[in-house]
């Protein structure tokens, strides 16, 4: 291998080498971190909510006028929804996963704890919730109808029974014996007993650190004159049922406005719109950077081939085969890329450190940089292949041509 003479020749034309090396270094640093961020966003977007998202939708009812009895309307609405054709199940709820708005509280194992044992979101639901949401019960039981209390907005929640997500159960009772245990909500007695554990239920906030900590509280509690319902349609009938539900609820009581219909698929799309946009933008940046780097290498190598035509001819005259010439340019690119990659590797970890300190981003996994090394080596070799093949076709007779 001609590494030493190539390197010493490169050291005599440092500007081009430094520029391309710098480009490779920046590309590696940015691409590694951008890919990691995209990967994180995609992982977030692919997290299951624990719900049946394909068949469910939610809608709101906002009453107006004097004498609007929100509690009575809520019961009537649930009865109406449950008997609509195509409806498999319906429940009242204050929120749903991924929606961006909901309630949260701390859960304690002792009364008057200064710091909560775990944070949780609260879904105020009735005994149809498991069936409607599609939450999978992995321990204990569902709420009994008689356990569902009737409360008014502003009342302190004092549920005798609660169902918690497995993540929350594990956070509260790491030994796995949460079922039947008593916990304190809102810091005060009385206690609530965990009667059921569901496999997974995400919180409404996609960026929450404890996204899978959720608690189902059995209560009917309209938010003033506003109630919200979650409906699960029979498979394949969601869109049809959405229209029907809106129409029938509106007809049933003209003293309110029915609206804010959203399928859970829409809710998910809106929840991750920012992440999706970020992934697309970063993806475009990666493609652009790689393209610019590859074009930079092609441009530099083409320039060098044109500039060194006589030199290549001389090398051929002195005994170089076509493959020797091809290998020369490939090796030269390998050296420049490697120098850039070494700098880029350090830069990548430095950038990751800065993102960690500034944006509390997770640390860049170590293997991103070696994978980036291999990818950019390959990119460099492919980019230089065209000019290198052109160089290998320079005839040796060029050596004797007049300048």
């Amino acid at each position: 291998m001609e590494i030493r003479p190539i390197l010493s020749a490169l050291m005599r034309s440092k500007v081009s080498m430094v520029l391309i090396g710098l480009q490779v270094a920046l590309t590696l640093a940015i691409v590694c971190n951008a890919l990691f961020i995209i990967g994180q966003r995609l992982d977030n977007m692919n997290r299951p909510s624990g719900m049946n998202e394909a068949d469910t939708f939610w809608l709101g009812s906002s009453g107006f006028g004097q004498g609007f009895d929100a509690k009575a309307v809520q019961q009537a609405d649930l009865a109406l929804l449950r008997q609509l054709p195509g409806v498999a199940s319906a429940t009242t709820t204050n929120s749903v996963p991924l929606s961006g708005g909901g309630w949260s509280t701390g859960i304690n194992l002792q009364p008057q704890q200064n710091t909560s044992t775990a944070d949780t979101t609260i879904y105020l639901v009735d005994s149809h919730a498991l069936d409607t949401f599609g939450f999978k019960l992995v321990g204990g039981r569902n709420f009994k109808p008689e356990e569902v209390t009737r409360t008014t907005f502003g009342d302190q929640l004092k549920p005798a029974s609660i169902i918690v997500s497995k993540a929350l159960a594990d956070a509260l009772f790491p030994d796995g014996d949460a079922l039947g245990k008593q916990v304190y909500m809102d810091q005060d007695p009385p206690t609530s007993t965990i009667v059921g554990i569901i496999e997974r239920a995400q919180q409404p906030w996609v960026s929450s650190d404890s996204i899978e900590n959720a608690t189902l509280v059995p209560t009917y509690m309209p938010y003033g004159n506003y109630s919200r319902y979650l409906v699960r349609a029979e498979p394949g009938r969601r869109d049809e049922v959405m229209k029907l539900a809106e129409q029938k609820l509106s007809e049933a009581n003209p003293s309110r406005i029915v609206g804010r219909l959203r399928s859970m698929e829409q809710v998910r799309e809106e929840a991750y719109a920012g992440d999706r946009a970020m992934a697309i933008i970063l993806g475009a940046v990666i493609v652009a950077l790689l393209a610019v780097t590859a074009l930079g290498i092609v441009g530099m190598a083409s320039f060098w081939v044109a500039q060194r035509t006589r030199q290549i001819g001389t090398r051929r005259a002195l005994g170089a085969t076509r493959f020797d010439i091809l290998r020369y340019f490939q090796t030269e690119n390998f050296i420049i890329t490697t120098l850039g990659l070494v700098a880029g590797g350090i830069l990548a970890y430095a950038l990751s450190l800065w993102l960690m300190q500034t944006y509390q981003a997770p640390r860049l996994p170590w293997y991103y940089v070696p994978v980036g090394f291999l990818s950019l080596w390959l990119l460099g070799q492919l980019a230089v292949l065209g000019p290198a093949l052109r160089a290998s076709r320079v005839p040796p007779a060029v050596a004797t041509r007049s300048v």
């Binding site: 006589r310 090398r315 051929r316 005259a317 005994g319 085969t321 076509r322 040796p396 050596a399």
Partner: protein, 245 residues
């Protein structure tokens, strides 16, 4: 050493055919110093390119050190060129970004010599041309005459059987030209066959034999090599052998 018989070289474009060499025959024996002269466009460089396996020929035959080169592939020609031929170019053709050591090393690397052997050969070759102390210098730091000496060292380092020189003094002033010429004569006295293309009748006169080329054909040649140099040096009888051109 070099035997071309009825060689033809035709350059073809879609409009015209140019006969660069026609019925070109020459026989250079081992140890000779032959000067090839002729006006511009006469075919001297084409002859040199074919002799040096830099170009292929259209017809006839060419044997280099007993090897029929017709039909050899590109790689085989490169290897044969590397092993048998040393080149000296009018413009020196040194690689500006490599120091003298690395410049002389270029053909040796392609030959695949081990590093220690290459180092010995480079030091020996540069010593032979009087530049051993400047191995780490770059071509731009040398005079034209010194650069041509480096090129000669590069040509000699691989111990070639044949040295092809293309106007080796064409870019040098008369003093430097004389120095280079004396070096070539000394190399020839030590047994290396040299074929030199030149415009300069004075230089040509110093060769053992002159071959004159016009319009791609050999028009004039010495029947016998000049005996003077062989006699002066007590060189072997190789240089005194008859010539077939």
């Amino acid at each position: 050493m070099l035997k071309m018989t009825h060689l033809q070289k035709v350059y073809r474009t879609h409009l015209i055919e140019t006969h660069a060499l026609r019925d070109f025959s020459i026989h250079v024996r081992e140890g000779e110093f032959v000067a090839v002269t002729g006006p511009s466009g006469s075919g001297k460089t084409t002859f040199l390119n074919i002799a040096g396996l830099l170009e292929e020929f259209t017809g006839g035959s060419y044997q280099l050190d007993g090897v029929d080169v017709q039909g050899l592939g590109d790689d085989a020609r490169s290897r044969l060129r590397n092993a048998k031929i040393g080149f000296i170019f009018q413009s020196f053709n040194l690689i500006p970004d490599l120091n003298l050591f690395d410049n002389v090393d270029v053909p040796l690397r392609y030959r695949g010599f081990p590093a220690a052997d290459r180092k010995r050969r480079i030091e020996e070759a540069l010593g032979r041309v009087g530049l051993a102390s400047r191995m780490k210098h770059y071509p731009s730091e040398l005079s034209g005459g010194q650069q041509q000496r480096v090129a000669i060292a590069r040509a000699l380092a691989g111990s070639p059987r044949l040295l092809l020189a293309d106007e080796p003094t064409g870019n040098l002033d008369s003093l430097m030209a004389r120095g280079v010429m004396e070096l070539l004569e000394e190399i020839n006295r030590q047994g290396t066959t040299i074929v030199m293309v030149t415009h300069d009748p004075e230089l040509a006169a110093r060769a053992q034999r002159n071959v004159h080329v016009i319009d791609g054909q050999v028009t004039d040649f010495d029947e016998e090599p000049t005996l003077k140099r062989g006699a002066e040096t007590g060189d072997s009888g190789l240089a005194r052998e008859g010539v077939t051109a």
